[in-house]
Amino acid sequence: MIDAKPGSLAESLNGTLHDLMDSDESIVIVGQDVGRLGGVFRVTKGLLETFGPARVRDAILAESSIVGQAIGMSLSGLTPICEIQFEGFVYPAMNQIITQAAKMTTRWNGDIALNLVIRVPVGGGIRAVEHHSESNEAYFAHTPGLHVAYPSCPTDAAAMLKHSTKLGSPVIFFEPKRLYWKRRQQPRDPAEPVSPVSARIVRRGSDVTVVGFGAILEDVLAAAERVASTIDVEVVDLRWIAPLDVDTILESVGRTGRLLVVHEAVAFGGIGAEVVATVAEHGSHHLKAPMRRLGAPRRIYPPADYEKHYLVGIPDIVGAIEEMCA
């Protein structure tokens, strides 16, 4: 089955940015090649032509400058949406993100709203060169003062981006590269999330809860479909990895009694560890089987020829589900 909505993630984000800029004059776009080129992934395509160079700002090649100036712009009353070209290039901006953006509201004794979105294309599976395929969300999730968004589909991404611009708190907005131009999508339960920042149960099931987020959620849903004749899998899309929607996870595990967490990032010290630890602390009485995590090994992301072996794939997820429910 294919979802009725035809748009890709890049198209959805592009349309949302057009809508946001149209309805909110405080929004400015700051990033490398976001104007003339429309962004390396074309997510900001057409914005320069519609809104002009004052609001769609091709930044100089310096990530700390992009985020640092955006913090100042936000303090001046604007709502900057930054683009970092690839997740592997965010590190020169880390000082501004972690020591400044994340702490600014607290430093001002809560008297400011720091509207600031930092869009970061993330993840692999696209045969990219070094630094262009990694999943580094755990660094940001670990940092108090940051919201971390990690959508898994175009419609969610649109709603989450809109919400991000009005949070009054900086948001690291991860965009899975693998989904940018993908049009086919696994079918999902149409239930709306409880709140704009909560997780979403995208497939109802009774035997095992599989928690995921981002591009790999498609693989989780495919795996669930593959075992559907014998195992009834429930799938939770975290959507926001910080703050983490603990309630939805615990509620689901309370019904299924089993938990598997799947992500593209290195498993060690990752979001999966946090989810499993949270359930161990608050929901272990529900468990019928040991919890499990699937993530990448703690090894440097390999050259493209080897990435298929490095990343978690559908057979890995199927195998883990079958072992847990045996």
């Binding site: 310096a62 640092g68 501004q96």
Partner: protein, 283 residues
């Protein structure tokens, strides 16, 4: 200006004593930099200021009281004053990051059709950080109305300026296409006039400028910095002999600009402020 300098000196001394007693956790003395700070601050009108963390005399010029100024060094808050009405933003302890915030703020105000001059204070040590170079370059290419004020007190904790850079900070600004001045800032009036000229340049040309304020460090980097272990006795003695507060006070007394009565009234205000600090933090 002398009033502000004497107040800054008094608050600085009292805070140092309070730290010594354990009533404050840390204090970063501005002793010796009062002329650079007061002279520059008086030239800024009501421009928004992005300070570093040692601009206590600037804060006093901006009407921030001694207790509010000291609260964060007693572990009570990260910022003891309300930044917006004083147009003096919170102290930033990570070096040079605020330089980029200042540029973004200036660009942001320009985009909202309410262009204004924005001032950022940094020290000589901070100029080695990448963000300082990025901010100078960004301000230049964006024609941002930012006045960079760099207090060069000769030391980045224990690293002397001549080991930090081969050219002056003012020369470096020129390399980015930014107009600059380098002045001896131990006299508040000279400092005031230079900063007034620089601010006027920013406003008339709608482009950034930098003033390197060559100033004097009499104390350590912080109250926990045993600076006498790495400073030569002669250099330290020269710094103490060059005390800008003493020199300016003597000059104004000698010229008859102030008299004993005026000084007594100011000293009474300073004593009140010191007493207030004692009550607030030593109880």
């Amino acid at each position: 200006m002398l009033r502000h300098m004497l107040m800054a000196r008094g608050v600085d001394e009292e805070a140092g004593l309070l730290e010594n007693q354990g009533a404050l956790d840390l204090w970063l003395s501005c002793r010796g930099q009062e002329a650079a700070q007061v002279g520059s601050a008086m030239a800024l009108g009501d421009a928004v200021i992005f300070p570093s963390y040692r601009e206590h005399a600037v804060a006093i010029v901006r009407g921030i009281d001694a207790i509010s100024l000291t609260a964060q060094w007693a572990g009570r808050t990260f910022c003891g004053w309300d930044p917006r009405p004083h147009r003096f933003f919170p102290y930033t302890l990570v070096l040079a990051v605020q330089a980029l915030h200042a540029v973004g703020y200036a660009v942001g105000k320009q985009l909202q059709d309410s262009a204004e001059t924005v001032v950022v204070y940094v020290g000589d040590g901070a100029t080695s950080e990448g963000d300082m170079s990025e901010a100078l370059n960004l301000a230049a290419v964006e024609s941002a109305r930012v006045l960079f004020l760099c207090q060069n007190n000769g030391w980045a904790i224990s690293k002397p300026s001549h080991e930090q850079m081969l050219t002056s900070i003012a020369q470096r600004a020129n390399g980015f296409g930014i107009e600059s001045w380098s002045i001896s800032a131990d006299d508040p009036e000279v400092t005031y006039l230079a900063c007034l000229e620089a601010r006027s340049h920013v406003e008339t040309s709608s482009s950034p400028a930098l003033v390197e304020l060559r100033t004097t460090r009499i104390g350590g980097h912080t109250t926990t910095d045993p600076h006498t272990t790495y400073r030569e006795p002669d250099e330290l003695a020269a710094a103490m002999a060059n005390d800008p507060v003493d020199k300016y006070c003597r000059a104004l007394v000698d010229s008859g600009t102030v008299d004993d009565e005026w000084l007594a009234a100011v000293n009474a205000d300073v004593a009140d402020a010191r007493q207030g600090l004692l009550k607030a933090f030593a109880s």
